[in-house]
């Protein structure tokens, strides 16, 4: 039986589609966005990371590792990612559960068991299942099976794609999708190459494909999401470019959402032994105001999400 490599399953999620959703995170992504909030989802192989807050430096894990990838340092244990094969043999012996596995293989049946626990919630809240990543399209055969299994039992489905996906695979997945989310992050080829590692060509093809698909089948809900990155695409000009592209490309204007930026993922970068290029950058109340203001001058409708108002000192 086919298996999918999944690094997180989140139930009761309200952020990735309507109602309560069970969100399934597939591991592996063709892009390398420098602001990625799920850096643990990029590598298409199993990995581990170490929660240094939990590690007490007991050394138990070190002798378990067949690759000598672990070593003690002052603050606990250090992982050499060059050596680590992701075998996850170090996970269970750790007494403090400081080593967390990233990525486990699931069958469709395994997932359906989890999904069906919330069937009642999906029905009453208008929710369902969202597959995201990484890029689910990298495991499209499995995703197709999963989405089909969901629809077979009446569970609403959504696919969240980076747009960098083979079109035949996308087409197969869309057959079993109620909604597709696609990210449009940048509208400058050079910037795209610089920040995500790939030019825009592929994404543009995907968007056109989606528009045609929708024209042919009608019953697909398309939603565009743009993560707002401070200093990268959160200026008037970039957003206007994206807006006019959406306006020009789609026959029926899709929903468009701007997601405010936060820095909650900084610790993930430490755990992944990766550098985080957005240290200290997050959208504050004044940015929220600015974007809200800007919204008025955009040619198409857009919603703004992801900003948590702290507002304590007033």
């Amino acid at each position: 039986m086919n298996k999918g490599l999944i690094y997180k399953i989140d139930r009761l999620n309200t952020h990735n589609g309507s109602g309560f959703r069970t969100v399934i995170y597939f591991k592996g992504c063709p892009l390398h966005c420098s602001w990625c909030h799920n850096p643990e989802g990029i590598n298409p192989k199993p990995e581990v990371w170490i929660n240094s807050l939990k590690c007490m430096g007991c050394g138990t894990c070190i002798s378990q590792c067949p690759e000598q990838a672990l070593g003690l340092i002052e603050k606990g244990v250090y992982l050499n990612r060059e050596k680590c094969t992701g075998c996850q043999l170090c996970v269970n012996p750790c007494p403090t559960i400081a080593i967390e596995p990233l990525g486990a293989y699931y069958t469709v049946d395994d997932l359906m068991k989890i999904i069906l626990q919330d069937k009642m919630l999906f029905e009453t809240s208008g929710g369902g299942v969202t597959v995201t990543g990484g890029e689910p399209g990298m495991q499209s055969d499995f995703v197709v099976e999963l989405l089909k299994a969901c629809q077979d039992v009446g569970v609403n489905t959504a696919l969240d794609t980076s747009g960098v996906v083979s079109l035949p695979s996308l087409g197969k997945m869309l057959q079993y999708c109620n909604t597709v989310f696609v990210d449009i992050k940048l509208f400058d080829d050079q910037a795209s190459k610089y920040y995500t590692g790939l030019p825009l060509k592929k994404l543009k093809e995907t968007i056109k494909y989606l528009n045609n698909y929708k024209k042919d089948t009608q019953n697909l809900n398309i939603e565009i999401r743009t993560p707002l990155i401070p200093g990268v695409n959160d200026d008037n000009e970039s957003l206007k470019k994206i807006a006019s592209f959406i306006q020009k490309t789609f026959t029926h204007a899709p929903k468009w959402e701007l997601c405010m930026f936060n820095d909650l993922c900084e610790d993930k970068y430490n755990r992944m032994n990766m550098a985080w290029g957005f240290k200290g950058k997050k959208h504050a109340a004044k940015d929220y105001e600015r974007i809200n203001h800007l919204k008025e001058s955009l040619p198409i409708d857009v919603t703004i999400s992801g900003f948590v108002e702290r507002n304590n000192k007033d």
Binding site: G19, D118, T124, S305, V308
Partner: protein, 757 residues
């Protein structure tokens, strides 16, 4: 959530806003705080000192050791003790007797010397500053105390005081004068039969009602006096209207919604004056006829109705219930249910009302309840599953003709309206104690299997339960003579008819003894870890573990981590969840096998309102990897930080228990605002979540929407007025966050923090 940030659906006018502002001022001025005797009282619900509950003044509250548990007090503390304490008849003449009549004379004196007060803008009057239980000297006989200390030694305790639910429809129908006639009628009957004890009780009741009528009459005098010198026309009209209303309820049964609401509030005032207070039943059922009749006559508008109920909520948001079913099983939601929720939406703030959901409930009404809950974000209303409440009462032995009329009446408890007196929420069984003894005995006896440990544990729980039974019986023997609850009794079925106080033996219809069981998740997590690490994997011996616990895991961090990271209740893992079921079923079966002298068995509730915060250091470290300084689990909720699989998995674990076998077990849900996506319909999501939870068998949800960073700031900056209006549902009760003891604040923040990781 901050009250000032709430988007209310109904906007208060200037008069209502003035009353709302005064409510907050009272809180900020610390005039509404609830104190508790000492930390021991929180854990065992008895400390051997006061025989009362939550004293704030007088000789029962030692200023050094008392603890602030919040500000959900109905009384307004004016900072003074009752000025006539030394003149209370039983004190002055040194004539304290264990008798209901002796109590009644003191009560009548007390209320006669309590001022009738009327404040600007209010149309609903009645405010009190003192409770008789703080001023009257009273103690149980020594035999009761001795039994209490024995029980505490073994891990149990409790008082018997209030915590029931009178049926106010009795009083609304008869009025004070009608109640007086009823008392006199039965007194005469028993006089003829020569039953002196009952006659004496009813003679006491007569004194009490007469004093209440005088008290109401004094309010009439007071407003008339104020009216005489009032120049503002609006205020003058309010005074005149109060005079009319109070005059009416002093002389006859209430006839309009206004009179009915004033009657209900005045009942609460004069009842709470004898101590603590109760749940006050199903407001929508109590008021619907008055509402309809006023509307038909055209003497009331919906907004006026909202304001009337709203004013009562401002005075004090008592434990009350809405919704549920009628006797024929149909949905009980009516126009008045809506008015009550709208009234809350108008005045906001702390309130203890509960909405009793069932699958056939008016969908729009339930949606509105969830809308309010998420919009106001402070646990109002509490959501409870009516069918589970009823099933649990039927299982206890309620007759169906009584069981349908139950009401959510306190933190996690519910009560047959006017038919039961159960000590809900005031008995405690600290389950960690028998477990600790079992471990010690197990080491002594060199046991080599988990089964052997379980058998010892079972015996030890039984011992603790027996000690509690003895203590309760010693209390029941004397309760009606030490502290009859006469005002409550007026609205209890069968009691005046029998000439007996509702606390007495053979008085109310149902008198099971309910017991809060403290620490079930800790005990089950501990036993599971022992089973796995000591008896299955043989990683450690029982003695090694015990030595580590006794030194609070000092120098044994690896061992502690092993115990801590065994499978834990709350993650939808069958192994640990099964243990939680086994542990709770065991204590339930043991309690249910015991009878009190009233002829009813004991019953467990999987809840304890605040003991978990203080119990930690008192009980020491535990085999679940908990250090002594950490709190223990709140009720049946998993220890914070241990349900690492998220809320959905916790719900699955929680609902593996059959709540119809218990007397409540609330699910505490704390979410930060970003749980709900911007622009999503959080009310609808909550509606869906709660119905799903109830369909799985859950019984109660206490929900808070809080930003723990803000709470952290508030904790460190208690005096700053910007934090004064943060309301939270603490466990089963609500409070302004900043008025709680620091320890509670910390525990609450940790809970919120973990739930949202």
């Amino acid at each position: 959530m901050k009250e000032s940030k709430v988007r209310k659906k109904f906007v208060p006018d200037n008069r209502m806003q003035a009353l709302i502002d005064r409510r907050l001022q009272l809180v900020v001025g610390q005039k509404r705080h609830v104190l508790c005797d000492n930390a021991e009282f929180l854990v065992y619900h008895w400390s051997g000192k006061a025989s009362t509950f939550a004293p704030a003044t007088g000789e029962h509250a030692d200023k050094e050791s008392r603890i602030e548990i919040g500000d959900h007090s109905a009384r307004v503390d004016n900072g003074m003790d009752f000025p006539f304490t030394q003149e209370i008849p039983s004190r002055k003449n040194n004539s304290f007797e264990l008798s209901a009549l002796n109590w009644a004379k003191d009560y009548a004196f007390f209320i006669d010397h309590s001022p009738a007060e009327v404040y600007a803008n209010e149309a609903l009057v009645g405010e009190f500053h003192w409770q008789l239980d703080e001023a009257r000297h009273f103690q149980y006989p020594d035999e009761q105390k001795e039994a209490g200390f024995l029980a505490r030694e073994l891990g149990a305790g409790g008082i018997s005081f209030a915590h029931t639910c009178p049926d106010l429809s009795i009083g609304l129908k008869l009025g004070w004068t009608g109640l007086l006639d009823k008392v006199r009628k039965y007194k005469k009957q028993y006089q003829e039969k020569g039953e002196s004890e009952r006659v004496e009780y009813l003679a006491g009741s007569e004194l009490v009602i007469e004093s209440i009528i005088r008290y109401i009459q004094r309010h009439v005098d007071k407003v008339k006096e104020l009216a005489a010198s009032e120049i503002n026309n609006d205020q003058l009209n309010i005074y005149l209207s109060i005079a009319e209303t109070c005059e009416a309820i002093a002389t006859r049964a209430p006839q309009t919604l206004k009179e009915a609401v004033q009657w209900i509030w005045m009942f609460q005032v004069v009842e709470r004056m004898h101590g603590h207070g109760n749940g006050y039943g199903r407001t929508d059922q109590l008021l619907i006829d008055f509402y309809k009749s006023d509307m038909e006559k055209g003497i009331l508008t919906r907004q006026e109705a909202r304001e009337l109920v709203g004013e009562m909520y401002i005075k004090y948001g008592s434990y009350t219930a809405l919704g549920g079913r009628l006797q024929d099983g149909s949905d009980a939601t009516n126009e008045m249910s809506w008015v009550c929720l709208e009234a809350y939406d108008l005045v906001g703030g702390i309130n203890h009302l509960g909405v009793m959901w069932h699958p056939e409930m008016d969908k729009e009404f339930y949606a509105y309840a969830n809308d309010i809950l998420t919009r106001h974000g402070c646990g109002v209303p509490t959501l409870v599953n009516y069918d589970v409440l009823k099933a649990s009462e039927v299982r206890s032995g309620y007759k169906p003709e009584d069981a349908w009329n139950i009401a959510y009446s306190g933190c996690q408890w519910y009560c047959g309206v006017g038919t039961e007196y159960n000590d809900q929420d005031v008995n405690s069984l600290v389950l960690l104690k028998p477990m600790q003894r079992a471990i010690e005995l197990g080491i002594e006896q060199k046991i080599d299997s988990f089964g052997a440990l379980w058998n010892i544990y079972n015996e030890e729980v039984d011992k603790t339960a027996n000690a509690l039974v003895d203590f309760k019986n010693a209390t029941y023997n004397w309760q009606a003579k030490v502290w009859p609850e006469m005002v409550t009794t007026f609205c209890m079925h069968d009691c005046i008819e029998k000439g007996r106080d509702c606390t007495d033996i053979d008085a109310v219809r149902y008198n099971y003894t309910s017991v809060n069981v403290l620490g079930v998740p800790n005990v089950s997590d501990s036993l599971y870890a022992i089973k796995k690490l000591v008896f299955e994997d043989k990683t450690y011996t029982l003695a090694q573990m015990q030595a580590a616990i006794e030194s609070d895991w000092e120098g044994q961090e690896i061992m502690r981590q092993h115990f801590l990271n065994c499978s834990k209740f709350g993650n939808d893992e069958d192994a640990s969840d099964d243990m939680a079921i086994q542990v709770s079923e065991n204590v339930r079966e043991i309690l249910e096998s015991k009878k009190n002298i009233k002829g009813f068995n004991f019953r467990p509730s999987l809840f304890q309102y605040m003991g978990h915060t203080y119990a930690g250091p008192m009980l020491g470290a535990t085999p679940d990897g908990r250090k002594a300084s950490e709190p223990i689990a709140h009720g049946m909720n998993p220890m914070h930080g241990r349900n690492h699989k998220g809320i959905a998995a916790t719900v699955e674990s929680f609902c593996k228990l059959d709540f119809s076998k218990y007397q409540g077990g609330s699910f505490q849900l704390e979410l930060t605002p970003n749980f709900f996506k911007t622009g999503s319909d959080s009310g609808k999501l909550m509606d869906s979540f709660s119905q799903n939870f109830f369909n799985k068998g859950g019984v109660q949800i206490n929900f808070n929407l809080v930003d723990f960073k803000v709470l952290e700031e508030a904790m460190n900056d208690n005096e700053n007025p910007i934090y004064h209006d943060i309301n939270v549902k603490v466990t089963g009760y609500s409070s302004h966050f900043v008025t709680m003891d620091k320890k509670f604040q910390k525990e609450f923040i940790e809970r919120v923090n973990y739930q949202n990781l």
